[in-house]
């Protein structure tokens, strides 16, 4: 279990393929022998086996499948508070999507989503990789320190938001106090439209570093030491070793981290709601925030669903990239 998510899922794919291979063979062998009593026993056993997966299958259909389908249908309906009283949700075709795309907030929200995602991932990845490389070295307390580094990731997001709101407070936050003490003027981190998104990205980088360190550290552990020993003989040490040994061998894990990072960052909601609620002056509106506010603040569930469907499509695109990257990683 040293290999991190990437390793784990790579293994899944490998064994998944392998076992499906044996599956292909098993039934053909079984069928000719399966006559009379034996086949009935097999059927009963198959039912019991299915019983193991049934609750999970049911849950996934109800809590993941149904919501996706429901979002698609809702996005073509006028689904508002009224619907909950009358039960009526008239079909309106693409009207909700027209509302979404012609909304003044659509372009800013899309742009903010992109900036938030790219900024967060770039920061998390670069710092995460640096820390992973640092912690690869075994030294006293290294595994303890690395474990403690997980804390920001395990805290409830709303707790992190509250804490950072106090740190970033314009008048009495410790960050501006620190800036003041070295003669710089305070920054209105969360109250100025021009820096709010930057501040939110900063907080999200802090939250995402542990995840990146963990996965990248797992990837580094899987690079055989012999490669470095051989490289050292050829004079590849320090930066050269990183450039020619670490990076190429880490590439598959890097792709997985980045793609997963995108999928998990574009849907971030808690942090933004906790820090800025989409403000000031809509400076931190993203697609996820729009979807939430349309549905649960304006009670325009149809429009909210249209926003979240855009989110699903983007996630799905990256999910496909993820699966392809993952498969390629297996092939290599």
């Amino acid at each position: 279990m040293s290999s991190g998510i990437a390793g784990a899922s790579l293994q899944d794919r490998k064994t998944g393929q392998r076992s499906s291979g044996t599956d292909g063979g098993a039934p053909t062998k079984r069928t000719p022998a399966g006559a009379g009593r034996r086949s009935r026993r097999f059927r009963r056993e198959d039912l019991i086996k299915l019983g193991f997966v049934l609750p999970a299958a049911l849950y996934i259909v109800l809590f993941f499948g149904y919501p996706v389908v429901k979002n698609v249908t809702m996005s073509f309906q006028e689904y508002t508070t009224k619907t909950f009283f009358t039960g009526e949700a008239p079909w309106v075709g693409f009207a909700n999507y027209v509302t979404v795309f012609s909304s003044q907030l659509f372009t800013p929200a899309l742009l903010n989503t992109a900036l938030f995602t790219i900024g967060s991932i770039a920061g998390q990845f670069v710092i995460g990789l640096a820390l992973a490389v640092f912690f690869k070295r075994r030294f006293p307390l290294s595994s303890f320190l690395r474990a403690m580094l997980l804390l920001p990731w395990l805290l409830p997001l709303i707790v992190s938001s509250a804490t950072w709101r106090s740190i970033l407070d314009q008048d009495s936050g410790v960050l501006n106090a620190a800036l003041g003490s070295i003669g710089l003027s305070g920054v209105p981190w969360l109250t100025s439209p021009s820096v709010a998104l930057f501040a939110v990205v900063l907080v999200n980088i802090w939250i995402g570093i542990p995840f990146n360190v963990t996965i990248l550290y797992g990837g580094l552990q899987d690079i055989p030491d012999e490669l470095y020993e051989a490289g050292a003989l050829d004079g590849a040490t320090g930066w050269k070793a990183f450039r020619h040994i670490t990076w190429p061998n880490l590439r598959p894990v890097v792709s997985v981290v980045l793609v997963l990072g995108v999928v998990y960052t574009i849907k971030v909601l808690d942090i933004i709601l906790g820090l800025t609620n989409g403000g000031p002056a809509n400076a931190t509106q993203t697609l996820a925030v729009r979807s939430y506010q349309e549905s649960f603040v304006n009670f325009e569930f149809g429009v909210g669903a249209a926003f979240s469907n855009i989110l699903i499509v983007i996630s799905l695109l990256f999910a496909i990239v993820y699966l392809r990257v993952n498969r390629r990683a297996v092939d290599e």
Partner: protein, 293 residues
């Protein structure tokens, strides 16, 4: 960050130097790494320290506290417990419920995906991976109207069911990864002795998988404890209010009392902090075993 990269650059040079002479010089250098590591950790965990520090400052609407809680005041905690004590209990009940439900659903499925030879295993795994990527707001949008019809809004079972969506795909994936390593022979031995699949699962697979079950359970607890989205969207009254929503309410209305906000934040962080200290082994296993949130 620059210091880190400089250090790492140097570190690698040394790392690949011949083993002999390195041993002697090593100790002091290793301590140097420890010092750098502690500094990195201190920077990363500064916000957590600041949360604790701010929670111990005297009540007030400003944050101009000292760098250390020289005269710690527990007024923030008194207010936090008076306001949010009930919400903490609600969160605890929901989180424990999520642990039970998630493990009950995920463990048998994980075993089946690990050991039974279904033909559609790769498809099932794909579905689980994709399920994990579905944005929470999508689920909330749809569940709100369904819950409204079923009377599950503002209910603890409703939140447990929804929160399990944070935990179940993850639990299936890490449980399966671990259950794949169980040698089929020990299960088969039991089956030869006449135990059915269910008996074999309960009396052999579950005990053997104790550690990974603990890991999956701890993460189910933390995911549910941290849930904010479902608390926000699937409750409309004060009847059932997890503490995450309590903090959000504090932030919205009443940042006039920072020490109470931060005291609530500290209390809500306790599970994560405690588990990281006492159950580090299990948390680390989960984090490296496929933890993606």
């Amino acid at each position: 960050m620059t210091t880190t990269s400089i250090v790492t650059g140097g570190r690698q040079t040394r790392r690949f130097a011949p083993v002999g002479p390195r041993r002697h010089r090593g100790d002091r250098r290793h301590l140097g790494y420890t010092v750098v590591g502690v500094i990195i950790l201190a920077i990363m965990l500064f916000p957590v320290y600041w949360m604790v520090n701010a929670s111990l400052q005297p009540s007030g609407n400003t944050l101009t506290g000292d760098f250390f809680p020289v005269n710690p005041s527990f007024a923030g905690y008194e207010k936090a417990i008076a306001d949010q004590g009930g919400h903490l209990v609600t969160s605890l009940v929901i989180s424990l419920g999520t642990v039970v439900l998630s493990l009950a659903i995920a463990a048998p499925a994980a075993y089946a995906l690990a050991q039974f030879r279904f033909r559609w295993i790769s498809i099932a795994l794909l579905v689980i991976l994709i399920a994990q990527m579905i944005p929470g707001i999508v689920i909330a949008n749809a569940l709100y109207s369904a819950y409204n019809d079923l009377g599950l809004l503002n209910s603890i079972p409703g939140l447990i069911l929804a929160d399990a969506s944070h935990a179940i795909p993850f639990a299936i994936l890490i449980l399966r990864a671990s259950m794949q390593t169980i040698p089929p022979s020990i299960v088969e031995a039991a089956r030869v002795d006449g135990a059915g699949h269910v008996r074999a699962f309960v009396s052999i697979v579950l005990p053997v998988s104790r550690n990974v079950l603990i890991t999956a359970g701890l993460f189910a607890f933390l995911f549910s404890w941290s849930d904010f989205l479902f608390a926000l969207t699937l409750t409309t009254t004060e009847d059932v209010r997890p503490v995450t929503l309590g903090i959000y309410q504090y932030l919205g209305s009443q940042v006039s009392n920072w020490s109470a906000v931060m005291a609530t934040a500290v209390l809500s962080s306790l599970p994560a902090i405690l588990l990281l200290v006492i159950a580090q082994r299990f948390i680390a296993a989960g984090a490296t075993g496929g933890a993606v949130k």
